[in-house]
């Protein structure tokens, strides 16, 4: 294994820096500049993985991000482990560890390989068809399938790396730094466009860098030498930013693109420390130039997937760019001239090329002549019919193609080789273009999809728009750039370009073999193990649309999205069905172009920054008091305050009793508060609430119910009239933002004539709510000069007052049914208000209570919580709250809907109280309610919405919505649970203090 497969070191490999790394536990050496793929190939390692379904040995196929086979797990057994990484993109560094995926126990001996032997029995749709029966066995099948299939392992621990997001605004974004991208970016920047040039690779130059030097010349130099000088000039150009190792993942509408900038993956471990690993670039570009190049196509023939079979361009790139020979005995198989370039490149480096197999019957191009001159045997009109070698290719069999290319004839010739470069032509990389909404047209002559209609200010240049010859690329680039950037000239107008003029090719999407297709394995999608056979099966079974065939065969559904094989799939469908390829259309290319890590997507928004939390000014006190918190909307609210190891139940029972027997205190700062002013404020409230507001006196409070236009309860809360034209509205904690939005909507769009101004003041006030029979005494201690007599300060009224010198608003309102006050101060005084209340309440054992106790206390009183007892299908009538719906008002939001035929149905779900026959049983919220136990099917009447054990009544109480519940008072109903049936009786939802005596106590 230690034989040296390096040929000549290219300038991109630093042979002075030796890098050791591990692959599948074995240590190898490479050099700085190597990718994992090139370093493995230099060590004569082709076998890097097993295929997804048949577990066939697979090798490195490409030299770029389109790689379908060589996908590896890096940093295995650490919390930085990452699956599905393309070995062709991993730059090696000292200490890199990577391993093969989808094989067990090892890539050399994989038990799943048995699938290959029985593959005749595993056609497309096998899993759908086979594991359907018996249905309850699925769990057992799944266990087995999951263990033998799957690509890679996801990390089980928290990702320790730092990720970042960055917004970028530029005039021109150029994607791809091949020759087109470089010249485009340079000329854009020179013409004062703020330009960003990105490329997924670590080096600029694209394919031109290793293009054939003999046949591609610019100003009498080889095109690669010429381009290197251009690249050197880039750093002196103002307005131009270059980002390498940056791949554009998504191209959305309005020139909004997402890029992934890879900052540390190529660095040694110690250099990675505390650095940002990857950055998500959110790019809004005025203009976009796509120079994404083209991907070489494989050829589809029998057993075209063995390790050692590679794209011809990849064989060339490994030799030229990395100085690695992929094989000692090389053979090329082609339908165009590209393979000849590769063959010549290898020949010039002294690497043996045994033969070229060409499905064409001739070609007169200069490059073919040069290959002939070099004495390399060319088999015209031949095709590979089979290949051999299990873990590494050792020979290919070829036969003569018939004139129509449909069958093979004559004798079989065997050619030994350990590397087969296949060249099926080029597919323009139009993925980003189509993601942006661009429409493609099919070029029947060249069998390629090309950009047709641009949906935004963008162009495609170079080979991604179908220009493949250097001369044509440069000429068209000049024309297109001038038009796109509206500039007079480009700096490469006068260069003299020489390149090959033609590249004739013939397309045979599925090459014939001497065997029947059923006996062959012509892979179309390597990663998902979909063969031409599977596609034909899908068509036979009636799938016609390309989208259906894709899903049935999984062609193009791997992590590589079928970058190599999609065109062949289309071609085979077209040939089989007789439909033109252009009419078939393509499947949808979806972002991301190459996989993104979750870390990159979320950036810094992890942990406590995942979603923001809102905290009240009293939050520190709650934490010190060991409160358990509940998330309400974005707020952190005190849920309950366990003392001395109490359970939640014990704490809530204690808090609830204390609030009714002496005094309780609640942090109510989170309630939404909207300041409403203007000469039409009263009229406005009349229109948005169900009840009447015009006659509410200044200094008085009123409970209001707000509906949607469909008549369903939307929000509720107490609104106070502070002045003639001034109100303060409270909303539910979770509904505040939506209520403000809804009110603004009506004001701006339906009633612009109203003079009303709305301001959210939720965060401006801190609110302490004290309740219980001793609340009056406590408030008197805090604000001694405020007359708290019922005459001066009755229930549902408001006073302005001062605590020391701090202004406060006090409302005597109650959600618990107890005598209670809500004290509002400027938010910054919230903590001192709370401390004062606690201090003043000490002698009365004032007990802080959380949301759970609040819910329990209000349930005892039968007060609803919007969102808990309602679900967007409850009218006020359903809630038995007819009293709050004004009969006199001509209109309010939702009024007309209250007497639609549907809303007046008697059998709507209506809010009722439920009492369990056994007072100790507390119902489950959400439990279903029935009236008949022996019905089949059983008819659900409704469900429990709120349920508690009431310490003040010493029994279980519940609120529920029940079909026709209004007329069921006293009726016995049943709640069937898993192990028992609970008997309940319909009751009045007001369980406690029905005549409200305590409010004025």
């Amino acid at each position: 294994m230690s034989e040296n497969l390096r040929v000549k070191f290219s300038e991109y490999i630093d042979e002075t820096i030796r890098v050791s790394f591990k692959f599948n536990g074995k240590t190898y050496h490479g050099f700085k500049g190597d990718t994992l793929a090139s370093a493995l190939l230099a060590n004569n390692v082709h076998l890097v993985g097993r295929s997804f379904k048949y577990h066939r040995p697979r090798g490195i196929m490409t030299a770029g991000s389109e790689e379908p086979n060589a996908i590896v797990q890096v940093n295995d057994n650490t919390n930085r482990t990452e699956p599905n990484v393309r070995a062709t993109e991993v730059e090696i560094y000292e200490g890199l560890e990577a391993s093969s995926q989808n094989c067990w126990p090892s890539v050399n001996f994989d038990i799943g390989g048995i699938n290959n032997l029985i593959s005749t029995f595993i056609p497309a749709g096998f899993y759908y068809k086979t594991f359907m029966w018996p249905s309850n066995f699925w769990e057992k099948y799944e266990y087995f399938i999951r263990h033998t299939a799957g690509l890679g392992k996801s990390p089980t621990k928290k990702d320790p790396d730092i990720y970042d997001h960055k917004n970028i605004h530029c005039d021109v974004l150029v994607v791809g730094a091949g020759i087109s991208g470089i010249l485009a970016a340079k000329n854009a920047a020179k013409n004062n466009f703020k330009t960003l040039l990105v490329d997924e690779k670590n080096e600029l130059g694209g394919a031109t860098i290793y293009q054939n030097r003999e046949f591609n010349k610019i100003d009498n130099e080889s095109s690669s030498d010429w381009l290197k000088k251009e690249i050197n000039e880039l750093k002196n150009i103002k307005n131009l930013e270059i980002k390498t190792r940056t791949s554009i993942a998504a191209f959305h509408g309005y020139n909004y693109l997402l890029g992934r900038e890879n900052l540390t993956d190529h660095l040694e471990k110690k250099e990675k420390h505390n650095q940002i690993r990857q950055r998500l670039l959110k790019i809004r570009a005025k203009k976009v130039i796509l120079a994404t190049g083209a991907l070489e196509r494989p050829l589809v023939f029998n057993n075209n997937d063995r390790p050692g079979i590679m794209l011809s361009s990849a064989v060339k790139k490994y030799a030229d760019f990395f100085g690695v020979k992929c094989g000692k005995q090389n053979v090329f198989f082609t339908n165009n001239d590209s393979a000849y370039e590769s063959a010549l490149c290898l020949y010039n480096k002294g690497i043996k090329v045994n033969a070229i197999i060409d499905i064409r019957d001739n070609s007169n191009s200069k490059i073919v002549k040069a290959v002939e001159k070099a004495g390399i045997k060319i088999h015209w009109s031949h095709t590979v019919v089979d290949t051999r070698g299990y873990k590494r290719l050792n020979s290919v069999s070829i036969m003569k193609l018939s004139n129509d290319g449909m069958i093979v004839t004559g004798n079989k010739i065997n050619i030994s080789c350990d590397c087969l470069g296949i060249a099926g032509g080029w597919t323009p990389a139009v993925h980003l273009f189509t993601q942006s909404g661009g429409k493609l047209k099919f070029d029947e002559e060249n069998k390629v999809f090309l950009p047709n209609k641009y949906p935004s200010d963008q162009i495609s240049v170079g080979s991604c728009r179908g220009d493949f010859k250097l001369k044509e690329i440069i000429n068209n680039l000049s024309i297109n750039l001038k038009e796109f950037l509206k500039i007079e000239q480009v700096d490469f107008d006068k260069i003299n370009v020489e390149s090959e003029k033609e590249n004739s090719k013939i397309n045979i999407w599925l090459l014939p073999s001497d065997k029947a297709i059923g006996k062959t394995k012509p892979f179309v999608d390597y990663q998902n193990d979909a063969t031409a056979k599977d596609i034909k099966l899908a068509l036979r079974e009636g799938f016609k649309s390309i989208e259906h065939v894709k899903r049935y065969t999984t062609t193009g559904m791997g992590t590589d999205q079928g970058k190599l094989g999609n065109m062949h799939a289309l071609g085979i469908i077209a040939d089989t069905t007789g439909v033109k390829m252009g009419e078939l259309g393509t499947t949808t290319f979806r972002p991301p172009y190459t996989p993104l890590t979750f870390g990159t997507i979320v950036g810094r928004n992890v942990g406590e920054f995942f979603d923001i939390f809102r905290r009240t000014p009293m939050n520190d006190w709650h934490i010190q008091s060991k409160a358990e918190f509940e998330n309400v909307g974005q707020w952190k609210r005190g849920w309950y305050y366990p003392a001395n190891g109490e359970t939640m139940h014990q704490a809530v029972q204690r808090e609830s009793k204390a609030a009714r027997e002496s005094a309780g205190i609640l942090d109510a700062s989170t309630l939404g508060k909207i300041d409403i002013q203007g000469s039409d404020a009263s009229e406005f409230l009349n229109r948005v609430y169900t009840n009447a507001w015009s006659k509410l006196a200044i200094g008085k409070c009123r409970y209001g119910l707000m509906l949607n236009e469909d008549g369903m309860v939307y929000d509720d809360g107490v609104t106070t009239r502070l002045g003639e034209n001034h109100y303060i509205m409270t909303t539910t904690t979770g509904g505040a933002a939506n209520v403000l939005g809804k009110l603004e909507d009506y004001l701006q769009t339906e009633w612009p004539e109203l003079d009303v101004y709305l301001t959210s003041v939720t965060d401006h006030y801190a609110t302490a709510s004290i309740c219980g029979p001793n609340s009056k005494k406590i408030l008197n201690k805090i604000i001694p000069n405020l007359n708290l007599s019922d005459e001066n300060f009755p229930h549902m009224s408001f006073k302005e007052a001062q605590i020391d010198k701090i202004k406060c608003r006090v409302m005597r309102i109650s959600f618990t049914g107890e005598h209670s006050y809500e004290i509002n101060v400027q938010a910054s005084y919230g903590k001192s208000l709370w401390d004062k209340c606690m201090e003043a309440g000490k002698e009365f054992n004032i007990t802080p209570y959380g949301t759970e106790t609040m819910h329990l206390l209000r349930a005892e009183k039968g007060f609803i919580i919007v969102g808990q007892d309602t679900d967007g299908t409850m009218t006020p009538i359903d809630l038995q709250m007819d009293w709050i719906v004004s009969k006199k008002k001509y209109d309010f939001i939702g009024k007309r809907s209250l007497y639609r035929s549907d809303t007046i149905r008697e059998d709507r779900k209506q809010l009722v109280g439920l009492l369990t026959d056994d007072p100790n049983i507390v119902l489950d919220e959400g439990a279903q309610i029935v009236s008949e136990l022996n019905q089949n099917p059983v008819q659900m009447l409704g469900h429990v919405t709120s349920s508690y054990f009431s310490p003040n009544l010493n029994k279980s109480i519940a609120l529920a919505v029940v079909r026709g519940g209004k007329n069921m008072m006293g009726k016995k109903l049943f709640i069937p649970m898993e192990n028992k049936t609970i008997n309940v009786t319909v009751a009045n939802p007001v369980f406690f203090d029905e005549d409200n005596a305590r409010l004025n106590a």
Binding site: H252, Y254, Y256, P455, D745, Q748, T749, P752, R896, R900
Partner: protein, 91 residues
């Protein structure tokens, strides 16, 4: 991701906006005069066109103003933006 030209603030990212459904559906001035069917027409019926559609948008994380947008839903092209209360273009 749209770039929306708020008539009050200028071009802003779509993230700052909230879509508010079909535009130019006026709330009936006298709902009580309407039959169930007529009220349902206002309440429930929306066009959801593939092609040119008139929409309401709100600059929720900006000036909070509502405005109208003419958008081609087939390719997301924003054809026109105009203020609330202004008449929709006739063509």
């Amino acid at each position: 991701m749209f770039l929306i030209n708020c008539p009050y603030c200028g071009e802003r990212d779509q993230q700052e906006f909230k879509a508010g459904g079909e535009a130019h559906i006026e709330r009936p001035k006298q709902p009580t005069e309407l039959s169930d069917d007529e009220w349902a027409e206002y309440l429930f019926m929306r066009k959801n066109i593939k092609g040119i559609q008139f929409e309401r948008w709100n600059h929720a994380h900006g000036c909070r103003k509502w405005f109208n947008m003419v958008r081609d839903t087939s390719n997301d092209e924003i054809k026109l933006i105009y203020k609330m209360g202004e008449k929709p273009p006739s063509d």
